[in-house]
């Protein structure tokens, strides 16, 4: 089984949202994904990292951790923060629910992650932080080993 992994930690600043997208795309590229699959991964990661920055750390900064794993054709990304956590994960995952309507958050973050990745798992402890795990299978196309 082919395996590879990558671990990053960066400041929870909004400037790093694009950095996280670029980093995850660069790592996932070795699976030879289609542009659509790569866009799915970039978008899902952008949502998870933005959540960590805006909700986890309430835009006051902190460290965001991003761990990526490749196991054969399965791509996994885990985005973690050590911020305020989520009281009610099921409620937070409701489409269009937002705890910050005044900031014009659309409440679509988790829905996007769910739609664009194959699996999504969210665990959170109030006061300790949130971990978002997502997996996506990148099927081989002819020419891939």
């Amino acid at each position: 089984m082919f395996q590879n992994e990558m671990h990053l930690s960066f400041s929870g600043l909004s400037q790093n949202e694009s950095f996280a997208r670029m980093a995850v795309a660069a790592f996932a590229t070795q699976l030879n994904p289609t542009i659509e699959e790569l866009t799915d991964i970039r978008t899902a990661v952008s949502e998870a990292v933005t959540n960590a920055i805006v909700h986890g750390y309430e835009s006051h900064g902190g460290t965001v951790y991003m761990d990526c794993y490749i196991k054969d054709r399965m791509f996994e990304v885990i985005v973690r923060d050590e911020g305020r956590g989520i009281e009610d994960v099921a409620l937070a995952m409701q489409p269009f629910y937002t705890s910050m309507p005044n900031l014009e958050r659309s409440g679509m973050g988790f829905s996007v992650m769910q739609a664009f990745m194959d699996t999504l798992h969210v665990s959170s402890s109030p006061g300790k932080g949130t971990t978002v795990s997502m997996k996506k299978l990148i099927p081989a196309v002819s020419g891939d080993e």
Binding site: S14, Q15, E17, S18, R21, E36, T39, R42, T43, S46, E47, T50, I53, V54, L103, E104, R105, S106, G107, M108, G109, S111, V112, A115
Partner: protein, 121 residues
């Protein structure tokens, strides 16, 4: 001696990644042309600058030209939804032109399909 070639730096904001913006006022219509990546980082400053222009209540038609937007996540949807509410409150309208298939997919997920116009401006 360091090479000073013809390369141009991308137009980076003072604090981060690229988001280009141009506005054109024509009668009661305001066209906002966006380019680059529309994420949470860029949405905040865009919101401020667009809302400053929308202080002029004679603007009743807001057009977003998104043909050079390369990426948009749900923060961009938040920006569009917010401006849509502003325009609706004043009895005006909002339309979105030139979205690529990935940007369009996000817009459709948010239920904003009626705002999409196929032809770029």
């Amino acid at each position: 001696m360091a090479y000073k070639g013809p390369y141009k730096r991308p137009q980076m904001g003072r604090k981060g990644n690229c988001m280009e913006q141009q506005t054109l006022r024509k009668g009661t219509q305001l066209t906002v042309t966006l380019g680059g990546e529309l994420d949470h980082h860029n949405a905040a400053s865009l919101r401020q600058s667009i809302d400053a222009l929308l202080q002029d209540k004679s603007i009743t038609e807001l057009v977003f030209d998104m043909k050079t937007v390369t990426f948009m996540d749900s923060s961009g949807i938040g920006l569009l939804l917010g401006r849509y509410r502003l325009m609706t409150e004043r009895g005006g309208k909002l339309s979105i032109h030139g979205a690529n298939r990935y940007v369009e997919r996000m817009i459709k997920m948010a239920g904003l399909s009626p705002l999409l116009q196929k032809q770029a401006r």
